[in-house]
């Protein structure tokens, strides 16, 4: 039979043959030491498994042997049945336990100085709390812009200020993160934007006493002006004019002429008050995926069509790619909601908190109106102006709407 190298310890992988205590031809007995092997742990004697005679030695003194390698032949004594060597132990499916690590050297009393990372290795980072980052992401606030004007870590309050739709004194619904309780089956919580819109319109309806004024205006003059002036402006000014741009200019000029419409209701130390803006800022209601946003078109008074077009386009793109700027949170007196390409003849928009009016533009369609006593077919839109009655009465609103209608129907349009 074969006399094999046994596994003498858990960590043993191989051994060295140190010394043969018996020579080929020697009689041997079961349990008698035949050879001394050196393992990773110690020198150990290996005994003969059977009675018999030692045969040829396969691993001489000094040889390195692996577990299970043949050390020598043994001729078993007749009669005594030697136990057949067991089949190799099945490899356990569980992963082998890592060999225990050598004992750690005792810790030095002072920690070794950690090598300072090179300045180049650490990329620049905007410092913002995890909450601030999330709120900025959800509300389209540009953290980089915020970081540019604030030193230290950007926090929730900073982001909310940027997002805030109202002035400091208007009732702003607190930006609350609703604690998540169990959601009833079939109900899906609103997205952050939707939830904010929901809150805003609710507060508006509940706190702003609005009334509406309505006027149908023809848009044929705009169509003519667009055809005449549009190509040149596109070529020279780099922007394609839209209906909105014409409305905006008409609105801006009418506002300049009617400064009472530039007021916003505000709290004067517990009493009703008003703030009057110096510049003509108009909010543009832009539809986005899942909701709407209202970027601010600032200082439109006296601007040319091309300038207005550029501002309008820039704001729309900004919003659609989620990059609001700080100015987009500034309060405005009026917003414009243009649904001329929509399906409703007329609609009443909701005044945003901090604003005092909003102009809704309905579907551009053909209508029959009296002209010089005769019916005429014209193209136009319904304008529906909602105003905050605390500041704007019927006469003021009607006068404003009338002037606006005249500008829209008759121009003139400023090109510079």
């Amino acid at each position: 039979m074969d006399f094999l190298v046994p596994k003498l310890s858990a960590t043993m992988e191989s051994a060295k043959v140190l010394r043969w205590m018996k020579q080929p031809g020697d009689k041997i007995r079961a349990g008698e030491a035949l050879v001394e092997l050196e393992t990773d742990k110690a020198a150990m004697e290996v005994e003969s498994p059977v009675d018999g005679v030692l045969g040829a030695i396969a691993a001489a003194e000094g040889a390195d042997v692996a577990i299970g390698a043949k050390l020598a032949d043994i001729a078993e004594a007749g009669g005594a049945s030697a136990p057949a060597p067991k089949p190799a132990a099945s490899a356990p499916p569980p992963p082998k336990a890592a060999a225990p690590a050598p004992a750690a050297a005792p810790a030095p009393p002072k920690p070794a100085p950690a090598p300072a990372p090179s300045a180049a290795a650490i990329p620049p980072r905007i410092l913002a709390s995890p909450l601030a980052r999330r709120l900025a992401r959800e509300n389209g606030v540009d953290l980089a812009a915020l970081a540019a004007e604030k030193s230290g870590r950007i926090r929730k309050a900073d982001v909310l200020a940027a997002v805030g739709r109202a002035g400091p004194s208007a009732p702003v619904p607190a930006q609350r993160v609703v604690p998540a309780g169990p959601v009833p089956e079939g109900v899906e919580p609103l997205s952050a934007m939707r939830a904010r819109i929901a809150e805003t319109v609710t507060v508006s309806r509940q706190t702003i006493p609005a009334f509406t004024l309505d006027r149908f205006v023809t848009t044929e003059a705009i169509a003519r002006a667009k055809a005449e002036l549009g190509p040149a402006i596109e070529r020279d000014g780099g922007v394609g004019l839209t209906l909105t741009d014409f409305f905006l200019q008409a609105l801006a000029d009418t506002l300049s002429h009617n400064p009472v419409m530039l007021q916003r209701f505000a709290d004067a130390g517990g009493r009703p008050g008003a703030v009057r803006d110096a510049t003509v800022d108009i909010g543009l209601i832009v539809a986005v995926d899942g909701g709407m946003m209202i970027p601010v078109l600032a200082d439109l008074g006296g601007r040319s069509l091309a300038e207005i077009g550029l501002v309008r386009r820039d704001a729309t793109q900004r919003v659609r790619s989620g990059r609001l700027v700080k100015g987009d949170g500034a309060p405005v007196p009026i917003a414009l909601s243009n649904l001329a390409r929509g399906g409703a003849d007329r609609f009443e928009a909701i005044i945003g908190p901090g604003q005092s009016s909003v102009l809704a533009v309905g579907r551009e369609h053909e209508a029959v109106v009296p002209r010089g006593g005769q019916p005429a077919v014209v193209t136009g839109v319904h304008l529906t102006l909602s105003v905050d009655h605390r500041l704007i009465d019927g006469v003021v609103g009607a006068t404003f709407l009338g002037e606006l209608a005249d500008r829209i129907e008759f121009g003139p349009w400023r090109l510079d």
């Binding site: 709390s129 995890p130 909450l131 601030a132 980052r133 926090r155 929730k156 993160v177 604690p179 998540a180």
Partner: protein
């Protein structure tokens, strides 16, 4: 509800349970005719006799290990450790035998035992007799660790622990022994584990254990005067540490302050901070903060000892610094 002290609440729980089940016995130093050095066992010896109320020699390894032997052979022993600091003496029995015997046996033995350890600072007992010990066994699976912060908790948690079929270490606080509070005697057995919200708020979440709970509630009062509404939790159990309600609170307040009466490194507040950060990362407006003992043993001299224990003022100031 009865208005009784923490000490009386412990005694009430022991009496009730020992009357209910004669397999329950209690062992500890001086707990027999003397009623215990903190009088938590007053009258038990007279009522239940020397077989069930056993005065032990000063030999924590001996009688805590014996508790395991009793528990695996059909009894439900309670071992009172006079000062939680002495858990150092029987640490081997707790960590290597009590926590592991069921596991090593392949789930075949059951070890329903309770170790009650009375610890904590504030009474001028100096460094070796003032530790709460509450975080020492935090990394030992197999143990259940609970911390009653009030008389009602002391009563309820002890009953729950005694009825639980696995080893429980109950950390009691010596500075709370004489404090009074409403206790629901005979009421339903509360959950052994899981936190309790003691004060609702919206501006910060404060989590504390043992005597730090009362101080955190006092801190919340101070903060309220400045218009800051803190939400205060008693963590109640350190193993298992149940963080769900605390995470929901932090999602609401965005601020976490955890308070424990142990040194900061390796304390349960560090574990809580890690778990809350993992679960509520996007809701944190500031890093989680910990208010703890400083990194040296508890000093003896009264002004020194008082200065190292987190005060309501220090807790409130920490909250403010994060807002």
């Amino acid at each position: 509800m009865q208005e009784i002290t923490y000490r009386e609440a412990i005694l009430a729980a022991l009496q009730e349970e020992m009357r209910r089940d004669d397999k329950i016995l209690i062992m500890g130093e001086d707990i027999g005719p003397s009623g215990g050095p903190f009088k938590t066992c007053q009258g038990l010896y007279e009522e239940f006799g020397p077989m069930r109320v056993r005065d032990t020699p000063i030999a924590e390894t001996g009688f805590v290990g014996a508790a395991l032997g009793l528990a695996i052979t059909g009894y439900r022993p309670i071992a009172e450790i006079m000062f939680a600091d002495f858990l150092g003496v029987c640490f081997d029995q707790v960590v290597n035998s009590i926590a592991k015997h069921r596991f090593m046996s392949g789930g075949k033995v059951k070890a329903p035992l309770v170790i009650r350890a009375i610890g904590g600072a504030g009474l001028r007992f100096a460094a070796q007799h003032s530790q709460t010990g509450e975080s020492w066994f935090l990394s030992v699976p197999g143990l259940t660790i609970v911390c009653p912060s009030s008389p009602n908790e002391a009563y309820g948690m002890l009953r729950a622990a005694i009825r639980y079929d696995n080893p429980v270490v109950v950390f009691e606080h010596k500075a709370l022994l004489s404090t009074k509070g409403p206790v629901d005697i005979g009421g339903p057995i509360p959950a052994l584990t899981g936190p309790a919200m003691l004060r609702e708020g919206r501006d910060a979440t404060i989590v504390a254990s043992l005597a730090m709970v009362g101080r955190s509630l006092a801190a919340a009062e101070l903060l309220a005067r400045d218009g800051i509404a803190a939400e205060v939790f008693d963590i109640r159990s350190l193993r298992p540490m149940v963080t769900g309600p605390i995470v929901e609170s932090v999602k609401k307040t965005n601020i976490l302050v955890a308070v424990e009466e142990q040194a900061q490194v390796g304390g349960w507040t560090a574990e809580l901070a890690a778990q809350v950060t993992e679960a509520a990362f996007d809701y944190l407006d500031a890093p989680p903060a910990r208010v703890t003992l400083p990194d040296h043993p508890v000093p003896y001299s009264p002004p020194l000892e008082d200065s190292v224990i987190p005060s309501p003022e220090r807790i409130a100031a920490t909250v403010k610094s994060l807002l």
